[in-house]
Symmetry: C2
Subunit: 519 residues, 2 copies
């Protein structure tokens, strides 16, 4: 209880009011004029108990019916709550869970960013937690908490603040683009109300526990909070991701305001799906694949380089573990290009305790209810570990495109989404390397025939392989566009000539070592 | 590389031979006579390259076909490898992954127990990782590593060693009882071969990296290892869970021996499912439920005790977090008994960031492919957190029993399985409390009718609820037997009279506080 001594500090003055900002502090400019949005929010008038009973009952009925319709819809509802403690975020989550069928609602809240280790990737956790289609996720203290607190404490400048908000906005945008209905509420308390609330809670020993030392600290820096909040609200909204700013002083009117907005938005969305966005123009792609060089490697050089490479890889992996940095390797390539053999040469040098190989098959029923990146985010490694993806999220731009499993506007959007997803990973100091094992059509034919005739390998060859082969040209275009749009310094594509298996295995091993030696 | 100075220490003598033990060191007695099992293993003769090629090809074909049949079977294959580093565990995992379709094999390996925090629950990780039906899990450095190393290092005495081995054996037994085919291999190297292997690896700078300082340390304590291994092998096998001890000196014969055993066991099992075990006798159960007292609580006492209780709960939860201990709360009870309301009174006092409510519905397709405890083990909390299960693994002994969803010999086995499962959790210092909210049939009828007539609540009432109500007597018996067989000091059942909602909520809150105040 020692922290409570803070209450003896002088209280902030009542007249602290949110500033109306008209900054243009960067090139792109945070320009907050407070015109478009309800900020600071209009006070909500109190509602009598009788009125409340009537209106709340109506809203509950509406929401219950909407939740039932949502169950069969092909999108999730994501409710993001930001704002001050005590302005009703937590209470709204409890109330919605009480009003609706709780089996299909999940409240999602996250530790304060300071409690996390530096190598943590919060976005991965958000990805994993997102609700499936037909369900509701209520996000408390989510992706806006860290940027806001860091900026209030002056740990980051306005450029970094804006960059972090852009990342949050992009994450939401990826959810919305996949169909999610995302509603954002900012729950506000003015300084007077906040102070009054804390004083009332502390006056009663039974509710004293609800007041944390940091509540007073936050009240002390109320002006800073308001400044940062203004920036945040204006920087983190765009079409389809607008903030509803709610006066949080009184629980009845704020509950009605939030619930009413949810009901309206859900009704609208269930009536009419948003129009499919414009299809982004394809990236200009050179034919990188056809110019991949094919070399041969002698048996003796192979043995020597594998041994040397494996020794280095083992040492690199130990350093990686000591640094608590993680490595993700992605393997893509033509059927029969030798992904399995190349992966096994890596496994031989790595400690199985810190490694998983994730082999990607078609999504199962549960995975189909989620954003396509969800099923991969689930398998990203813990700190100091390695995960190898044998096929990956790039299926979106390969098989899903060529086989028409995903509409064009969605797979055309994939490069931007994937680049951001990978950046979230590498920005936290982790590593990502992507291999394409390339064989020529002639070599593939020879391997297919060999597989067909070898009873030990014939199971590897399926009708699908032959069908894919017929679509070589389509896959070639898809792959080249994929390289053009998703090759980046922090997550590069390595194109490996794999007509010679020995050369391919050595190339992969040595490329991994080269990348790791830079970390 | 400094650790390598260890190699200058004198090497262990070649004549160190495993002791043949005939200890009877405890009441129950570790009695190891080395008669029944191949220990120490018979040396396997070398096999020529030509022979190898022929035999390996035959075995691969057999295993491939068996894997295909396994895909459609209703059980998983779990391969447990124990033994010395260098005796081929790792290589066997890689080889099987190469021989078979790797999409349906997962290699599972775990950090050394010393690398884990004290509050870690390794068994939970094993539960979560077990392969689904039709697939293969290869366990390297699994549940035998910690007991063996601890005993070799004299960190635990023989009683604790035996207790830990029993726990491992019980875990396997639970998998086997659920249908898993579990095969255990102990890969052995004699001291001479081990020393020779390390020397050869170190003589070549290219393979030097494969030798760890701890390899030499282990060789130094070879006699201790052999002693502990003898105890381990004899203490951790029983019908259906026998060890195959394999001479690991030469890779070809050891590969064939392991693969041949897998093929034979899988063939046998696919031919003929094991007979259903005898049905355990039901526990004698008193009718505890009918004697649960029903009290009423006034509105004012209620408000007072809720406020007081929530204050205490919040403080307890903070201590729990500081101690990195976790809490699991289970809610069971009659339909309409008020579980949701009681849970919400807890939520109001807890920080959403460290809490999840897991509401249990019927198992989905993925969950049906797994042991019934798997889907709950996945949701147990991280250190310092709380998870509330709204319905739980006790469904096995309630709805699955009454509705005939699970054969009798399986739900009769559940109490022992569940007690062990819960013990794994509480043994690690975490807490578990189980609530049954009890209402009388008359009260339930009144609530059903009120729900039916209230448009805000009618969705809560389903045909299933009425059907369950018709089976009141069956559920009553099932519940009473459940309390009799799964009430334990470390994971007690709290039976709460819930005819009065206020009283029920206060009782739950105060019971949680009482339990937490002891931690």
């Amino acid at each position: 209880m020692c922290g409570f001594s803070l209450i003896r500090d002088p209280l902030p003055k009542a007249d602290m009011q949110p500033e109306r900002l008209a900054l243009d502090c960067r090139g792109g400019g945070i320009a907050t004029d407070g015109e478009a949005m309800n900020w600071p929010p209009q006070p909500l008038p109190q509602i009598s108990k009788a009125q409340w009973r009537q209106k709340a009952t109506d809203l509950r009925m509406r929401l219950l019916q909407l939740q039932r319709r949502l169950r069969d819809a092909d999108f999730p509802l994501i409710l993001v709550f930001g704002g001050v403690d005590g302005a009703g975020k937590h209470e709204m989550a409890n109330q919605l869970t009480e009003w609706l069928d709780p089996r299909f609602i999940q409240t999602l809240a996250y530790p304060h960013p300071q409690e996390l280790p530096p190598w943590d990737v919060p976005m991965l956790r958000y990805w994993r937690d997102m609700p499936p289609k037909g369900q509701i996720g209520i996000v408390l203290s989510g992706w806006y908490t860290a940027p806001l607190l860091s900026h209030v404490r002056a740990e980051i400048d306005e450029n970094d603040f804006a960059a972090q908000l852009r990342q949050a906005l992009h994450f939401e945008q990826d959810l919305v683009a996949d169909g999610a209905l995302l509603l954002k509420f900012w729950m506000h308390l003015d300084a007077d109300s906040q102070r009054q609330r804390l004083q009332e809670l502390m006056a009663d020993p039974m509710t004293l526990w609800q007041v944390q030392p940091r509540d007073w600290a936050h009240l002390h820096s109320y002006a800073d909070f308001m400044h940062s909040t203004s920036l945040l609200l204006h920087e983190s909204e765009q079409a389809g991701q607008a903030w509803q700013v709610i006066d949080g002083r009184k629980s009845r009117p704020r509950s009605l305001a939030v619930a009413e907005h949810i009901a309206q938005a859900l009704e609208q969305r269930l009536e009419k799906a948003p129009p499919a966005p414009q299809i982004p123009a394809p990236a200009a792609a050179v034919d990188r694949l056809s110019s991949v060089e094919q070399h041969r490697l002698s048996k003796s050089s192979y043995a020597e380089r594998i041994r040397q490479g494996q020794g280095q890889l083992f040492l690199h992996s130990q350093r990686l573990r000591a640094l608590q940095r993680s490595l993700v390797l992605v393997f893509e390539g033509w059927d029969a290009a030798g992904k399995g053999g190349a992966i096994r040469r890596l496994l031989q040098a790595l400690d199985a305790r810190f490694l998983r190989v994730h082999r990607v098959a078609a999504p199962d029923a549960q995975e189909l209810q989620q954003h396509y990146l969800w099923r991969f985010a689930r398998h990203f490694p813990e700190p100091g570990r390695i995960v190898i993806f044998d096929r990956s999220w790039y299926g979106r731009m390969l098989v899903e495109r060529v086989e028409g499993l995903t509409p064009e506007y969605r797979w055309r959007a994939a490069p931007a989404e994937i680049n951001r997803f990978e950046e979230q990973w590498t920005d936290a100091g982790h590593m990502l390397l992507k291999f394409w094992l390339h064989i020529t059509p002639e070599e593939q034919l020879a391997r297919f025939e060999a597989r067909r005739d070898d009873p030990l390998k014939s199971w590897k060859l399926t009708d699908e392989d032959w069908r894919n082969r017929d679509r070589w040209a389509e896959y070639l275009l898809a792959a080249n566009e994929m390289f053009a749009s998703t090759d980046s310094p922090h997550a590069p594509w390595v194109l490996v000539g794999a007509n010679d298996k020995r050369q391919a295995r050595v190339s992969v091993l040595e490329a991994v070592n080269t990348a790791l030696s830079a970390c």
